[in-house]
Symmetry: C2
Subunit: 334 residues, 2 copies
């Protein structure tokens, strides 16, 4: 198990200089076919594999983009990561995916690590509604792109879903299908996309001529437990609603699991319009409508944005991309 071969070994074996080897490695023109072939043979013989670390040092480009996600075990975030990875693969870029565990401090620490690793850029799915801790990195020249949501005190390119439009569309469709009194369950309105979805809901109500009823609007935190608690809460009040718009998938799961714990009679006739659908959505028995985000495309756009920003670091203004959502009539309704 000798040391791995270097470009010098290859050069020697092919009787050329390292410059020439490097040229064939990088598909440079200006190298005649015969030479190229000799080099290729030497590479194969020696099982040479280029050392990208050395390459990165010299070229000051690691061809790596960092992704910081609040969680790893979340199909929505990983769907975005997937979209990013697929898009970047074509450009021979790789991706380092890190979990901030929904902590702002960890997010900051990860940025520091990624800077040390000399990634060419970072795509952040923010863990909170704050962004000030990202600023120093951006100021130091690190390209940063936001995905899924915006944050306070920080401006950057961003790839987002049209949360407002999606919510409005699904609630409007819900109304067309006869729902009148529609409760809202969603994330804290301090978070950009939660707020946008809530506003979309309100817009649809207004356009449908339905009076808003603040008593049946509940805000939680994007987690199952929260969805479960809010559903319980709403059903526990006097004259409970029977139709719900639940603006987040995990809250939707939690709410549904609460419904399943009720006696058959109590839950009959309950209908839900949701946001997002995933592999396990067929299990969401009360769901009749949902809007899907174009998750992979969202990742693809984030990838495009980061590459643009890497390419020309002084693009004047942040570019915000809004992806349309898609209305889905759930099978469950039939």
């Amino acid at each position: 198990m000798g040391k791995t071969a270097t470009i010098r070994d290859v050069a020697q074996r092919a009787s050329v200089s390292t410059a020439t080897v490097s040229r064939v490695l990088n598909d440079d023109a200006h190298v005649v076919e015969a030479t190229r072939q000799r080099v290729m043979d030497a590479i194969a013989d020696l099982r040479y594999s280029r050392n990208d670390v050395a390459r990165s040092l010299k070229t000051r480009s690691s061809r790596i983009v960092g992704i910081v996600s609040p969680e790893l075990t979340n199909d929505f975030f990983m769907g975005i990561a997937n979209g990013i990875e697929a898009a970047l693969k074509k450009l021979k870029y790789s991706v380092i995916i890190c979990s901030s565990n929904e902590s702002r401090d960890e997010e900051k620490r990860l940025l520091k690590v990624l800077v040390e690793k000399a990634v060419d850029g970072v795509i952040v799915i923010p863990a909170s509604d704050k962004g000030s801790h990202l600023k120093p990195f951006q100021d130091a020249g690190m390209p940063i792109v936001l995905a899924d949501r915006l944050v306070e005190d920080f401006e950057a390119d961003a790839a987002l879903s049209d949360n407002f439009g999606g919510a409005r569309e699904v609630v409007a469709a819900f109304i067309r299908r006869g729902a009148r009194r529609i409760a809202f369950i969603g994330g804290a309105s301090r978070l950009s996309n939660a707020r946008e979805r809530f506003e979309g809901y309100r817009a649809a109500l207004a356009e449908g001529g339905i009076e808003e009823e603040p008593g049946i609007e509940r805000f939680g935190d994007f987690h199952m437990e929260s969805g479960r608690a809010l559903m319980k809460d709403l059903l526990g009040r006097e004259n409970p609603p029977r139709a719900f718009f639940i603006a987040n998938l995990y809250m939707h799961i939690g709410a549904t699991s609460f419904l399943l714990s009720l006696p058959e009679a109590e839950r009959r006739g309950i209908r839900i319009a949701g946001f997002d659908s995933m592999a396990y959505s067929p299990l969401l028995g009360f769901c009749t409508l949902a809007v899907e985000q174009r998750i992979a495309e969202l990742g693809g756009e984030a990838a495009r944005l980061i590459m643009d920003r890497i390419g020309k670091r002084d693009k004047p203004f942040p570019e915000i991309v809004r992806l349309p959502t898609r209305l889905v009539v759930t099978e469950n309704e039939r």
Copy 2:
């Protein structure tokens, strides 16, 4: 936006040599407190950040471990990745997570990329039951650890669940709770963990004095669609079983979603024992029992194995770790 500061700039500003700066950066002893302080100040003043690429080049260690997973959008695999990341973080290691998209060729390509990136080791969750394409990398000196399952034609350290024991335990419990005629739905028996789970099921039947009935044993491919189809198939036969052991979560979801599409009367009394549980498991309404894998620990063990292997590359034999599972009585049963 000047160039970022280097160790030389820091050295100059602190009036020491680069060697000394490097020493304080690496917590080397042999540097007196006053000097250390001066260096720290210079680092802060210049907002110096170490260039890990150069460090890696010199030390021949990138402090990065690659993870190759068949999918990103899969909470089970990402749970493992999470466990790995958490364990490695303590050792100042980072992680590159890549998706092989369940393709062996892509798996191979990723290994090549990771070798170029000079990762210190790779943890592979195999995309198939074949492993021969991993051998050349191992032979070339790359530490490789398997997670979740074993493969043919390739020997390496591995972190696995006790699939046999887990399946046996849950099926035995199922029998104790009155199930007699238990159908099997699982992955192709060519895959190591699918086979092990099937054998666990058979063992439990044998121990419970229940005769095996090959007609109600079905093998699919670990996906929702497959679970759905097999459930449909089993229920479509004459004298269909009412109790099922479904040896994989996604098949379980698929099977459940088929049940939900049936009229109430037809699905009444059906009971399922499952493998794994996740955030959305409360939605699996027919499930009464499940075994949980210790997913995070599995990742932690994989991390330990890879670090061991990185430390002493010539450990004689592959080490196989089997993690116990945990029986869970599902809320749904109450």
